[in-house]
Amino acid sequence: METIITKFVGELRREGLRVSPGESLDAVCALAHGGLEGRCSVQALLRLTLVKSANDMEAFDRVFERFFSSYPEGMGIDPAALLEEAIVTMEGDMLGTNPEMVNENMSLAGVDAGLGPEDLQDLASIKEIDLDQLDGSEIEIRLKDYQGAMAAPRPSPRMPQNPVTMAFKVPLGQKREMIFTAEELEAMQDAVSRMMLRLKKDIRRVKNKENRGKIHVIRTIQKNYRNGMVPFLLELRRKRKQKPRLVVLCDVSFSVSHASQFMLLLLHTLHNRLMDVRSFVFNAELVEITEMLSTAPINTMLEAIDSGDIVDLDANSDYGKVLQTFKNKFLDNLRGRPAVIFLGDARNNYNKANEWVLDQLREKAGYMLWLTPEDRTLWQRGDCLIDTYGAYCDRVEVVKNIEELNLIVEDLFRNLYLEEEHRSRRSADAVEMEQDDDYRSYYSRGGQVSTPGLDAEGRSHW
């Protein structure tokens, strides 16, 4: 029976499910319990023990169907029956024995002739591995052993590409695919949640420091009431927690739409989780989409953008006009020194640049970042105004794929949080330092991103 389960688990892994040796052992255990006495359905038993996420249910059912209809290969026996039979054969040995015996593999030895004593040894030794203590390499070796003569696992069809290295696909001709497939969405969510995990540590550190302040006398006394007012537990004054604010302006014209999509998706995922984001899209005119981002599903919104319902896509992009609109409509009610991100190629179609708006925006913004999908070598050609605009920004970066975008945004967040901390510390000192930083000196020419610590896995495709 173990061989059947092992092969089945191998199938599942090939389908992209993550099944640990411990879980396959559970499955064998469960079959011994349920199959022997309760006669529960084998499928239900296996699903309970092997599948650990609702998303994997469907894949499991598919594999189960396929595996147990193809298993005997010419033997002409129904495999589900085969499994039942194996269980029934075991019954004789098993009845009257302690269920714990299943773990020992003693009574099972005779059941399956194809199972050598070495295999049993393997199975037994697997139990001793503490998964949390292992690094990847060792477990991989163990898994290979466990899978026996199984072919090397193929990349799963569910994750066709490494999500972080997935490049922005340049749209083919005029036909643009604005809509994300479920896989892309999933991959993106995955990438973002990993980014969140990395960021979390920094944020927590900042927050801990934030809480370290003066003693809140009343709260401390209240909290220590049951200790006879002896202040064992201190309650500190909390500083007002403030989410960093972010304002994003995305160009959605044909030339950069592929990058904008990912930016929007990223924002959609991040919105409200970490920070307050105000998002705008523009081509020739500027529209705020913050409300839409938080209510509508991402694909609906992309469709709306794509069909030109929100901004007219047929017009040529006009950064000057957009900046003018931004100044007139939104600049006055920007609050809390937000970080401002522009995403666009700054190709202005020889319209008026209106870069003075950026100068004003500069006074309101804590940080300004310009992201462009174009290579540095192309900046001097044609109608590109990036040098003009870039002079007002703290940084100009080239982003070409999700990983670069993720790294930059992650970096930005970290800076924002650190700045928040910095600011609160400064105000605590109650010393208003004259900050006469010349922002122009911050203008970094390098396309190199200062790289935050990243796991080796994510780096490999850099």
Binding site: E23, K52, N227, V230
Partner: protein, 300 residues
């Protein structure tokens, strides 16, 4: 020995209509002594399963409601500072006697140290839900509710408890469970639970029930509703679930609605009835309109 059909029957007696997957999960959890992690939309009976199990198996229910920022002081154990302090005060004369005979300071400190374990004994330990369920004489149902609301740290804290059924207390050492409780963890899926925790549990996904089972649930919980009306209700609600509402009506809403209809002595669903009672089944203003429209289209 109980099998899964017995469990199904048992749950039915407690008013909980289980399907095969649920019964199998409970059966295995009892036999393999592994926790169950239940996921699913709100209101399908995740917590209800734990409550019913506690009632029908006659295991006391120990409930731990998770929230953001929950820690070991709230979940596992805590020290009772006040009591420790009080005892120190009261035993002062005793201590004085003990120490007065001490020759020098070093001796006094040593004597005091030898008595230290007195103050970190189980006397001064406040048992929080997890430890309480481990140390109770009778096997209990440990319900860890809405684990997705807690933080990662808390999840990590539970790993030891759930895989080995023990709690490590630095001052006391390892406390093993006297009885392995039937642990049930529920999650609404607002946050991904870590794989480490999933691996230690049986995973059960409870979805909205099939029509037939939902009718049975209604009949079992609200017997006043006639069979025909129950079918009509369930049919309508299943259509409502496909409407892409912000909060689709769940089993708990079905039961509430059945209750309301039985109080109002309704014998047949009409658009007017739905419009009057729509607040019971949908809880968002945007949803109300959609449900009323559906009623007009389906029942009118």
């Amino acid at each position: 020995m109980m099998n899964e059909y017995d469990i199904k029957e048992l749950l039915r007696d407690g008013g909980y209509i289980a399907d095969e997957a649920i019964a199998t999960a409970v059966f295995l959890a009892l036999r393999m002594e592994k926790p169950i992690l239940i996921e699913g939309p709100p209101g399908v009976g995740k917590t209800g399963l734990a409550k019913t199990l506690s009632a029908v198996l006659d295991f006391p229910l120990v409930r731990l409601q998770c929230y953001e920022g929950i820690d070991e002081g709230k979940a596992l154990y805590d020290w009772e500072y006040g009591k420790q302090l009080l005892y120190t005060q009261m035993l002062r004369t005793q201590l004085d006697n003990q120490l007065s005979s001490a020759g020098d300071l070093r001796d006094a400190v040593e004597r005091l140290a030898s008595e230290e374990s007195l103050f970190f004994s189980q006397n001064f330990l406040v048992q929080r839900p997890v430890l309480r369920s481990f140390l109770s004489e009778k096997r209990s149902v440990l319900l860890i509710d809405e684990i997705d609301r807690s933080d990662d740290e808390f999840e990590a804290l539970l790993l030891e408890c759930l895989s080995d059924f023990q709690v490590s207390i630095p001052e006391l050492g390892v406390l093993e469970a006297k009885q392995k409780p039937l642990a049930i963890l529920t999650s609404n899926g607002t946050r991904m639970i870590s794989d480490a925790l999933r691996r230690r549990c049986l995973y059960l996904y409870i979805d909205y029930p099939e029509a037939e089972r939902e009718v049975q649930i209604v009949r079992a919980r609200v017997p006043a509703i006639c069979d025909e009306l129950a079918h009509q209700m369930v049919g309508f609600l299943r259509k409502a679930r496909d409407l892409n509402l912000r909060k689709p009506p769940s089993v708990s809403e079905t039961l509430d609605w059945a209750e309301v209809l039985s109080i109002l002595h309704v014998s047949e669903l009409t658009p007017t009835v739905v419009a009057n009672t729509v607040g019971v089944i949908s809880k968002h203003q945007a949803d109300l309109q959609k449900v009323v429209e559906l009623a007009a289209a389906e029942l009118g």
